[in-house]
């Protein structure tokens, strides 16, 4: 490329950089709504995608990641969200699932005098993916054998359920110290821990399960060769990927970079399972600190955990989004 072309391109980039910084500085004073504020819409299932730099992972990064998950669970419960999916490409979180479980189930959801919490701990329904065991079997009348979907699910119990679900939009009661009569109590919380293996490889596993069934059906001539319909296949794949042993579609996704770099504002999905993100809303957080942290030797930081502003801004983005669903 000639020096003039290079110079022009560099000039374009410099102008763009200045304009972007100016825009972000102008919005720096915009505070998002508080966690428990009544929003027009609230996601019932949130996904948190943690981006790590695999060249610089350390124990400190792992601690930051567990810290991020813990914070996300706390804030979800405060906001009224009862399902969270956390993802990292390499599967670090899956290997740390026991630590995560310990930290989450130990902490009571609310500061309360209820001493029964310890005795109500449920043991996880699915073993960690590092055991390489099958996930829970599907419904009894299904003809498809269970597939390894590599999804770890942790159920975190609420207090003794009084049969009342927390209504969306109602102010959170988790900050009050004494549960009073008739008040909604924190419900149980579901956490899914995923890695890249829960995505495309899991779809391949589903394909193999359907292959085995079709092979059996053909050999026992139970099924006509032309009897397959992609539409019903789609329904089957959905029920296998999103049922027991899998995880359902997230409504909103927050992408958080553990390590600061100058391209943290650019959105990529790092291998997140493709089937479930059909209608997922993506957050729009543009951190200010990437502009100076990224340059030079700042990359070896321990990694910064998820912060509350990021979380609340994502909820605001979701509340403002319109859904037309094709119509």
């Amino acid at each position: 490329m000639s020096w003039l072309a290079s110079f022009t391109l560099a000039a374009f980039h410099a102008v763009y950089w200045l304009v972007t910084i100016a825009k972000r500085l102008l919005t720096i004073a915009d505070q998002p709504l508080p966690l428990a504020a009544a929003r027009q819409k609230l996601p019932s299932h949130l996904a948190l995608l943690l981006v790590t730099d695999h060249r610089h992972n350390s124990d400190a990064t792992e601690d930051s990641m567990i810290e991020s998950v813990e914070r996300a669970v706390t804030w979800c419960r405060a906001a009224g969200i009862d399902r969270l999916t956390v993802y990292d490409r390499e599967g670090l979180l899956s290997t740390l699932s026991l630590d995560i479980r310990k930290r989450l189930v130990k902490r009571p959801a609310t500061p309360s005098t209820d001493s029964d919490l310890e005795t109500e701990i449920e043991f996880p329904l699915t073993p960690p993916s590092s055991d390489d065991s099958d996930s829970r079997p599907l419904s009894p009348d299904s003809e498809v054998t269970p597939c390894k979907l590599k999804v770890t699910t942790v159920q975190i119990p609420g207090h003794a359920e009084k049969g009342k679900r927390k209504a969306l939009g109602v102010k959170s009661t988790t900050r009050r110290r004494r549960p009073t009569l008739g008040e909604p109590t924190p419900t149980s919380f579901t956490l899914h821990i995923l890695s890249r293996k829960s995505g495309k490889p899991a779809i391949a596993e589903v394909a193999n399960a359907l292959l085995r069934r079709r092979s059996v059906d053909r050999s026992s001539s139970r099924m006509d060769k032309n009897d397959r319909q992609p539409a019903s296949l789609e329904t089957e794949v959905t029920s296998l990927l999103q049922g027991d042993g899998g995880f359902p579609e997230p409504d909103l996704m927050i992408v958080h970079h553990m390590v600061a770099s100058s391209t943290n504002d650019l959105l990529e999905l790092h291998g997140f399972p493709p089937w479930q993100i059909r209608l997922t809303e993506f957050d729009d957080y543009k951190p200010m600190d990437i502009w100076w942290r990224g340059w030079g030797h700042q990359r070896r930081t321990a990694g910064r955990p998820l912060d509350e502003i990021e979380f609340r801004k994502a909820l605001d983005t979701y509340a403002a989004a319109e859904m037309r669903l094709g119509k």
């Binding site: 980039h13 763009y16 079709r214 391209t263 650019l266 990529e268 999905l269 291998g271 983005t317």
Partner: protein, 228 residues
């Protein structure tokens, strides 16, 4: 290519005019891409879910598709000028017969072009594409096993090879842009974009989208390429 109807409403025009302006935007942006030497462009023209819309709108879109497809592929027009091969991807059996005929004719006219590819996704849904690919992969594995007696096994690469975009010869997806401010994928190219594709959400309605909106996206893409 989202935002045709909101664009029309904001200009007090009929929805069909919004779609017609959308086609003009497609030509404009396609030409920019081709001049920038982009090898493959895939556009979401019609979702399988869009059949749920009012019949008048669906009919108008089908008519637009039929006329504009052939216009685009004529000798001397854009696709011919840049050597672009047209592929229509999706569950085309759902389209009316006249549109299907226009598609066959348009694809024939550009079949020998080899400098670039235009994937016109209509009527398309990513889950339908993945399910169809799974189905084809299963049949493929079964027939291979029948031939050589081996145990059939499907990998993610086997599924990827059966996707409509792969079968049309498309390279991996580098950049995905959605217009009109919506920050969702809405069942578009889910498998193809979930790895290292850069996702960009532009607030501009599609009929208004032009070079001015595209430049920041390209600069961001370059930034990312240099940082890697």
């Amino acid at each position: 290519m989202d935002g045709n109807r909101r664009y029309a409403r904001s200009h007090q025009k009929r929805v069909q005019e919004g779609h017609a302006e959308g086609f003009i935007a497609l030509r404009r942006v396609l030409e920019i891409c081709l001049r920038l030497n982009v090898r493959c462009v895939s556009v979401y023209a019609f979702a399988i879910e869009n059949f749920k819309r009012m019949p008048e709108e669906v009919d108008a879109l089908m008519t637009l598709a039929e006329t504009k497809l052939l216009e685009l592929c004529q000798h001397g027009d854009l696709l011919h000028e840049y050597g672009v091969r047209l592929n229509v991807l999706g569950k085309t059996s759902l389209l009316p017969p006249n549109v299907q005929a226009a598609i066959r004719k348009a694809e024939d006219l550009t079949r020998d072009n080899d400098r670039a590819i235009l994937n016109l996704c209509m009527p398309y849904a990513a889950r339908n594409e993945i399910a169809t690919a799974v189905d084809l992969a299963i049949e493929d594995a079964l027939s291979k096993a029948a031939e050589d007696g081996s145990k059939p096994e499907i990998t993610e690469d086997d599924v990827a090879a059966q996707l409509m975009t792969t079968r049309a010869g498309s390279p991996p997806l580098d950049l995905l842009v959605r217009t009109s401010g919506v920050r969702r994928l809405s069942d578009f190219l889910l498998w193809q974009c979930c790895e290292d594709t850069q996702l960009q959400f532009s607030p501009t309605y599609w009929p208004d989208f032009g070079l001015w909106d595209f430049v920041p996206i390209i600069l961001d893409y370059q930034r990312r390429a240099w940082a890697a």
